[in-house]
Symmetry: C2
Subunit: 395 residues, 2 copies
């Protein structure tokens, strides 16, 4: 962890505030930029939209963000007017301690829907969190821990690109269904770029990462991804090749975090990578991958190491994308199972062994004649542990 | 069973042909009309479309159908050209025995995808099934048993409307996601109506029944609903009030069968009825109900008797239907949990007890101001038994 090269000019904190019932569980995080940062964000498309999403959405893009405050254990969603007041109060408390205006603070929450935030805990917790802010990998790790819910491990990715660095962390676990993937993501960078370009970069990076991961397809009320750019690299406005490299690094960091989310999804025993190739468009490829990724029949078959490939092709078939069955082929790992609409004889024992012995498995659905559309999508299997975790989440 | 009033002029058979590995498991059914019947059908919208669907779709509507032949255990889907030959051969064999042309025979299959039909079994089985055809409830029960896969019981519904009778049976269990619900349905009537009207009636009846049920949202390759009208009631063409009553009876029979499918879904411990009221249109109401019904988070919470109602409203929120959160209310049973966008205090123990003690549970999502759109939708919970059943279906 100490070898991580991190984006410059950020401080992090993740503390135990008492929001969660588990003892010593970190549950409150703050990210602060040492100098005002350009901030852009993308948010859930759910119509039931959490209070922190409503507050943050009204504040980005902006050129002068100072901090993000995040709590876990309570989503502050479906909480009406009181929820909005509470989300704003979280930013007030953070701003007071940092000496900035509340509008310069962004906010995110994750946890149970429909319960008022326990504000007395946050009234004392937020000043403590701000006081705990520190640069470096250990503080980042604390913050990354504090945003988790049922995740079993932190998700952090970083890219040192010489003249600048891109560092991200995220939480996932469940209620993960594009658009966005139901998750929180924070990408800190020490470069400077024009806000419209940053916004476009973030949207594109999310499209091929967080919008290409699904655990069960339930789009959350709280999805949020922030990208900060504070210019602490001291190089001024990035342009040309540097801007291109920056874009690639943001994409890579987001893709790493998205893959981690699928891999550490609730109860997951397999990370499933779906490649769709030769579709007409990226969007068509993504739709088919999403239908496969969200089919409980596909997911249970993978859990059971049952090479029931008919479920995979039939899920692509109801994605709403027109195609001719005779153009479709399917490969699992390196075993071709279905070729231009015809089932191939295959070794069922070897196919089952592939699913049984590998934690990371791959399916490739391809079309011939081939179009330019392709997509890589991440998901996981559906296991009894997922049910156990979700059958008594609130009670 | 013997008190069933059945549509006149139909004979049924359901035999043990040997298609399935379980001993004495009925797996081959024939429905025959004593006189040629008007036949209409609705079929899966999956692009991977089973061979029997392709064959049957090309043969309806028609005025002179004689029989339907159905096998279970093998879907004859994703089987290429050979699959089409085999499906046609099933109708040839049936027609030979009945003395009609193959085009007068319709065909349906359900079971594993991607395996060739074992035709030698059907070559001997179909003549046996036709020889076993009989009128009456016992023969209907045999046929209803022969189309089941992982269903635990037959699904039969009948309405005696005085001047005519509507009798239906269906199979469900899993791979159930509109459009259609992934299922086979057979509706036999002894009236006569113009084919275009019959087709419109069947489409409308499916919209509010089989298209309002979902187990896990995986639209099958084999969905088929047939409606037969053989005029055996001897009343000539139905019109006016009779046609209206006929329409209502077809709707009721389809709704009964749809409810039965959700109730007997794989591993289901709860039948969940979702009412959406006050939406702009039926289609909007159905979309929101479908999103709720297919959310694994909603389904696992119901399984665990966890009154985590935020999952229900948040699922409605990502259905792609625009609405304002402050217009939404949610009731579970008779407990109001969410009122115009505000969470209400509620007795969590009583709410959990409602889910724990009732097999049939109801949620009502309503909008105020209210539009005219409403929908009743059936689904079930997601249980460890569903996973166990599907983790090793083929191996």
């Amino acid at each position: 962890m100490n070898h991580w090269h991190l984006a410059k000019g950020y401080r992090y904190a993740g503390i135990v505030s008492g929001l969660r019932s588990e003892p010593n569980r970190r549950d409150l995080a703050v990210i602060a930029s040492e100098t005002p940062a350009i901030a852009v964000g993308t948010f859930t498309q759910n119509r039931i939209c959490a209070a922190p999403v409503q507050v943050s959405r009204s504040r980005v893009p902006r050129p002068d963000a100072c901090a993000i405050v995040i709590c876990s254990g309570n989503a502050n969603a479906a909480t009406g007017e009181q929820g909005l007041k509470d989300a704003r109060r979280m930013t007030d408390l953070t701003a007071e301690q940092l000496g900035c205006s509340p509008e310069q603070v962004l906010v995110a929450s994750t946890g149970v829907i429909g319960r008022p935030l326990p504000m007395p805990i946050l009234e004392t917790g937020i000043p403590k969190a701000v006081a705990a802010l520190k640069p470096g990998a250990e503080a980042l790790s604390d913050a990354a821990h504090a945003v988790l819910t049922t995740d079993t491990r932190i998700k952090v990715a970083t890219r040192d690109c010489g003249t600048f660095t891109v560092t991200g962390f995220a939480k996932g676990a469940a209620m993960i269904g594009p658009n966005l993937a139901t998750m929180l993501g924070f990408v800190m960078t020490d470069a400077t770029l024009p806000p419209p370009l940053l916004k476009a970069f973030l949207k594109d990076a999310c499209d091929v990462s967080f919008n290409c991961v699904s655990v069960e397809g339930h789009t959350s009320t709280n999805d949020t991804v922030f990208l900060l750019a504070n210019g602490a690299n001291g190089r001024g406005m990035l342009a040309g090749d540097d801007a291109h490299n920056y874009f690639a690094a943001v994409r890579d960091v987001c893709a790493d975090l998205a893959r981690e989310i699928a891999s550490d999804a609730e109860g997951a025993k397999h990370l499933v990578t779906l490649h769709v190739e030769g579709a007409r468009t990226f969007e068509d490829a993504r739709k088919m991958a999403k239908a496969i990724a969200e089919s409980p029949l596909v997911k249970t078959a993978i859990y059971g190491a049952d090479p029931n490939w008919g479920r995979v092709v039939s899920a692509a078939g109801y994605a709403g994308v027109p195609f001719d069955e005779s153009h479709v082929s399917l490969t699992m790992g390196d075993m071709k199972l279905y070729d231009h609409g015809r089932p191939l004889p295959f070794d069922a024992i070897a196919a089952s062994a592939y699913l049984k012995t590998n934690r990371d498995v791959t399916f490739t659905l391809s079309f011939d004649p081939a179009g330019p559309g392709k997509c890589t999508f991440y998901t996981c299997d559906l296991t009894p542990e997922y049910i156990a975790l979700n059958a008594d989440y609130t009670t």
